[in-house]
C-alpha cells in the first residue's frame, strides 16, 4: 500500500531525515494560516496517491498567503481537486537548493538483496532516465540481514559527486532511509527530489513510502481507510481482501487468479470489448461470490464474465456461490460463466439449475461476453445469459 507524502515524510523525519517545515491542512483557511506561519513563497501540495502531481497542476509554489488560500480552495473544492480526490494539502516551506538528487531503496529479486538506487539527476522522470541512460543510475546492493554499512553510503555519496562534508550527512540520511525501509516493511522508499541546499545539507523534497500489505500483521495491522482508494467500490473490495481495479467499460470480470484474470482482460481487448472492472474471485475469496457479484453490479455492467479453472478453489463451491448470488441480487445483465476444475461436473449442474449455460473454453466465453456487450439491450431476465436460458 502506497502512503501519502505527508505520512512518508513523517516516517522519514522520525528517523532523523531532514524534511522541510510543513503543515497538513484540511481547509483553505488552514492552508493560508500555514503559509503565513511558514512564510512565502511556500509550496502547496495536494496529498494524492497518484504520481505526476506537478504536471497535473496539483502542486504549486505560492507567493502570498492569499494565493495559498485561493489555490487551496481550488484544490479542495474545485473540479480539478475533485477529479483527483484531493482531501488534504501539505503546505511546506520552500527550500533553496543547489542540486536535486534521486534516492530510493527497494529489493533486487534476482540477487536477493535490498537495492539502493541513486542518481545525480533528481526531480526528473527517473523511470525514463533509467531506460534512456541506465549508466547514470547508481546501484548499491545491501544484504538485508547485515544491513546498510557506512562504506556503502560513501560509495554512493562519492559517486553522486558530493563533497566529503556532504558525504557524512548523506550517510546519516541514508541510514535513516534504510531504517524506514526495514522498520516499516517497505516495498519502496524514495526521495525524489533529494535537495542539496546551498549550505550543503540534504533535505527530502518529496517522500514516497510503499508498505507491504503482506507484512501488516507485524506492523500493527492497520485497516485500509477510504482515502487510499479512488472509488467506493475499490475501497469496499479492499476491505473484503478482493483484488479489484476500476475501469469504465462494459464487461465486469469476475475471474479466479491474477494470471487468468489478466489474460481474460487481454482477450476482451483483443475481441474489441471493454472492461468495467477487474475482480479476482478465486484463491482465498472463492467462497465470496455474492459479495464479488455485488461489487461488479455497482458498475452497472452490460455483462458479467466469470472465468475460473480451479486448483484449490473448487468449481462446485464457486458455482453454488454464483447461484446464491443470482438468487439474492437478481442481476439484470447477462452472465457468462466458464467454471472448470475440481468438482466441475457438479458445478455444471448447479449453473444449469441457476439458468446459466456453462461454457468450457475461455476464448469462447470471452467471445460470447463481448458479443453480448455489443448487442442492443434486450431486457433479458435477471441473471440470464441470453444464450443460456432454457
Amino acid at each position: 500500500m502506497k502512503l501519502f507524502e505527508y505520512q512518508a515524510k513523517a516516517a522519514f523525519a522520525e528517523r532523523g531525515i531532514a524534511v522541510p517545515e510543513r503543515r497538513l491542512c484540511d481547509t483553505a483557511d488552514e492552508a493560508a494560516a500555514a503559509a503565513a506561519e511558514l512564510g512565502c513563497p511556500c509550496v502547496v501540495k495536494s496529498q494524492v496517491l497518484a504520481g505526476g502531481r506537478g504536471k497535473a497542476g496539483l502542486v504549486r509554489v505560492v507567493a502570498s498567503v492569499e494565493e495559498a488560500r485561493a489555490y487551496a480552495a481550488e484544490l479542495l473544492t474545485g473540479t480539478l481537486g475533485a477529479a483527483h480526490g484531493v482531501r488534504k494539502l501539505l503546505v511546506e516551506a520552500a527550500v533553496d537548493f543547489a542540486r536535486e538528487l534521486y534516492l530510493s531503496i527497494t529489493v533486487d529479486p534476482e540477487a536477493a538483496t535490498a537495492l539502493v538506487l541513486a542518481c545525480a539527476d533528481g526531480g526528473v522522470e527517473i523511470e525514463e532516465l533509467a531506460r534512456m541512460s541506465p549508466e547514470r543510475i547508481i546501484r548499491e546492493r545491501v544484504d538485508i540481514d547485515v544491513g546498510l554499512l557506512p562504506f556503502q553510503a560513501r560509495n554512493i555519496a562519492y559517486a553522486l559527486d558530493l563533497e566529503p562534508g556532504q558525504a557524512t550527512g548523506f550517510a546519516a540520511l541514508l541510514t535513516g532511509l534504510w531504517k524506514t525501509f526495514r522498520d516499516e516493511d517497505a516495498e519502496l522508499v524514495e526521495i525524489n527530489p533529494l535537495f542539496v541546499t546551498e549550505s550543503g545539507t540534504l533535505v527530502a523534497g518529496d517522500g514516497k513510502l510503499v508498505v507491504d500489505d503482506n507484512a501488516a500483521f507485524r506492523q500493527g495491522g492497520a485497516v485500509p481507510s477510504r482515502e487510499y482508494f479512488d472509488s467506493d467500490v475499490a475501497f469496499e473490495a479492499a476491505l473484503e481482501g478482493i483484488p479489484y481495479l476500476q475501469f469504465d467499460g462494459d464487461i465486469s470480470l469476475m475471474c479466479a487468479g491474477a494470471g487468468l484474470t489478466t489474460v481474460v482482460y487481454d482477450l476482451v481487448n483483443y475481441e474489441g470489448g471493454t472492461v468495467a472492472n477487474y475482480l479476482e474471485f478465486g484463491g482465498p475469496n472463492y467462497r465470496k461470490a455474492v459479495r464479488a457479484m455485488e461489487l461488479c453490479l455497482m458498475n452497472s455492467p452490460k455483462v458479467i464474465l466469470i472465468v475460473t479453472f480451479g486448483t484449490i478453489a473448487r468449481a462446485d463451491v464457486m458455482a453454488e456461490g454464483i447461484a446464491e448470488a443470482i438468487a439474492k441480487l437478481r442481476p439484470r445483465c447477462p452472465i457468462v460463466a466458464c467454471i472448470r476444475g475440481t468438482g466441475e461436473e457438479k458445478a455444471v449442474e448447479t449453473l444449469k439449475a441457476a439458468g446459466l449455460q456453462p461454457l468450457f473454453d475461455t476464448e469462447e466465453a470471452v467471445g460470447r461476453a463481448v458479443a453480448l456487450a455489443a448487442a442492443p439491450s434486450r431486457g433479458t431476465e435477471p441473471g440470464g445469459d441470453s444464450g443460456g436460458r432454457p
Binding site: 502506497k2 504520481g51 530510493s104 531503496i105 527497494t106 529489493v107 533486487d108 529479486p109 534476482e110 536477493a112 538483496t113 535490498a114 537495492l115 538506487l117 527517473i126 523511470e127 533509467a130 531506460r131 541506465p134 543510475i137 538485508i144 540481514d145 526495514r182 516493511d185 516495498e187 519502496l188 524514495e190 525524489n192 514516497k208 510503499v210 507491504d212 503482506n214 507484512a215 500483521f217 507485524r218 481495479l245 475471474c255 487468479g257 491474477a258 494470471g259 487468468l260 489478466t262 489474460v263 482482460y265 487481454d266 482477450l267 483483443y270 478465486g282 484463491g283 482465498p284 479453472f309 480451479g310 486448483t311 484449490i312 472448470r340 476444475g341 475440481t342 466441475e344 475461455t362 476464448e363
Partner: protein, 296 residues
C-alpha cells in the same frame, strides 16, 4: 522422466496436521509421492495418513531421513519454516504460501542460494510430474490437464496453469514436469534456474513458459537460449499484453529492471532468442505442433 521430484524422493511435510496439509498429503501419496514424515510443532505422536508427525524437522529427520520439504505453512511463518528445512540440510523445498512478506522472501531466496538449495514458491501450486509424483496441490485427477508426456512447463501463475496446460494436452502432448515458480515478486527459484534440469532431462522435448507482466524472469530464459545454455524448443505464453501497468514496486521496480519488464519487452526478447510466442492460450498447442510436429 521427471525433474525436481520423483518417487524416490522422501518428502517431509511441514504443517501436515492442518486442513490443507492433511488433504494434500493424502493426494500427494495417492499420486505416488513418497511422503515419509510430517512436522507440526506441538503435535508429535500424531499421524496423518499413516505418516508420523514430529515437533521439529530435526527430530523428524533423526528418525526418518527426508530429501525434500513440502510446506503447508501460513505466509507469516514461512520464512521460519524454510530456514528450518535448510538448517536440516534439505535441498528441495516447495512452499505454497500466498502472502509472504516481501522482505521475508528476499531472506528466503538469499538463504537458499547460500545453501545451494532450491526453494520453489511461494504463491504457487508447486511441482508435479503427472502420473509420477508431486509436491504441492494440483488437481491431478483432471485428465485434460495432467496427462504425462514430454513437455516441460514453467509458470508464474497458478490460475493460468490449468488453462494453458489444457491446451498442451488438447494438442496431443503431455507434461513431463510442471514447475510453478510462483507469482511473488521475489520467487525462491527463477525460471532460468530450472532450465539446466529441463535441458538435461531426456524425457523433455520442449518447454512451455507461462509468463506475465513485470520482472525479468522471462528475459533471463531468453538470455539462456541466446547463450546456448538452453537448446530445446521454447513456447512462451505471455499474459498482460493490454493490461494497465500494475507494477508492484512503482518507479524503482522499473528502474531495477533497467526498463525491462513490459510484455512487449518480453515478447521481443523471446522472439530474438527464437522462442515461439503465444498471446492466446489456444495458440500454445498450435505452436508446440509447429515446433515438434503433430501428435496423436
Amino acid at each position: 522422466m521427471s525433474i525436481f521430484i520423483d518417487r524416490s524422493d522422501r518428502v517431509l511435510v511441514q504443517g501436515i496436521t492442518g486442513n490443507e496439509g492433511s488433504f494434500w498429503t493424502r493426494h500427494m501419496m495417492e499420486l505416488g509421492t513418497a511422503v515419509t514424515v510430517g512436522v507440526t510443532p506441538g503435535k508429535e505422536g500424531q499421524s496423518v495418513e499413516g505418516v508420523p508427525v514430529y515437533h521439529t524437522i530435526r527430530r523428524a529427520v533423526a528418525e526418518r531421513p527426508a530429501d525434500a520439504a513440502m510446506l503447508f505453512v501460513p505466509p507469516r511463518f514461512t520464512r521460519d519454516a524454510v530456514f528450518e528445512a535448510l538448517d536440516s540440510g534439505l535441498k528441495k523445498i516447495v512452499t505454497i504460501a500466498d502472502g509472504i512478506p516481501l522482505q521475508d522472501s528476499v531472506q528466503i531466496r538469499k538463504a537458499a542460494l547460500s545453501c545451494g538449495a532450491r526453494v520453489v514458491g511461494g504463491n504457487t501450486s508447486g511441482v508435479i510430474s503427472p502420473g509420477l509424483a508431486m509436491m504441492g496441490m494440483f488437481p491431478y485427477w483432471i485428465e485434460r490437464v495432467y496427462r504425462p508426456g514430454r513437455i516441460g512447463v514453467m509458470t508464474r501463475s497458478g490460475s493460468l496453469t490449468n488453462e494453458v496446460t489444457a491446451m498442451v494436452v488438447r494438442a496431443g502432448f503431455g507434461v513431463s514436469t510442471l514447475v510453478g515458480v510462483g507469482g511473488d515478486p521475489v520467487p525462491g527459484t527463477r525460471f532460468a534456474e530450472m532450465l539446466p534440469d529441463f535441458q538435461d532431462d531426456p524425457g523433455t522435448d520442449a518447454i512451455v513458459v507461462i509468463g506475465e507482466l513485470g520482472g525479468t524472469m522471462e528475459e533471463e530464459v531468453a538470455e539462456a537460449m541466446l547463450s546456448g545454455a538452453f537448446t530445446k524448443p521454447v513456447v512462451a505464453f505471455l499474459g498482460g499484453r493490454t493490461a494497465p501497468a500494475g507494477r508492484r514496486m512503482g518507479h524503482a521496480g522499473a528502474i531495477v529492471t533497467g526498463g525491462k519488464g513490459s510484455v512487449a519487452d518480453k515478447i521481443a526478447a523471446f522472439e530474438k532468442a527464437g522462442a515461439l510466442v503465444a498471446d492466446r492460450p489456444r495458440l500454445v498447442g498450435e505452436l508446440l505442433v509447429r515446433a515438434l510436429g503433430p501428435r496423436s
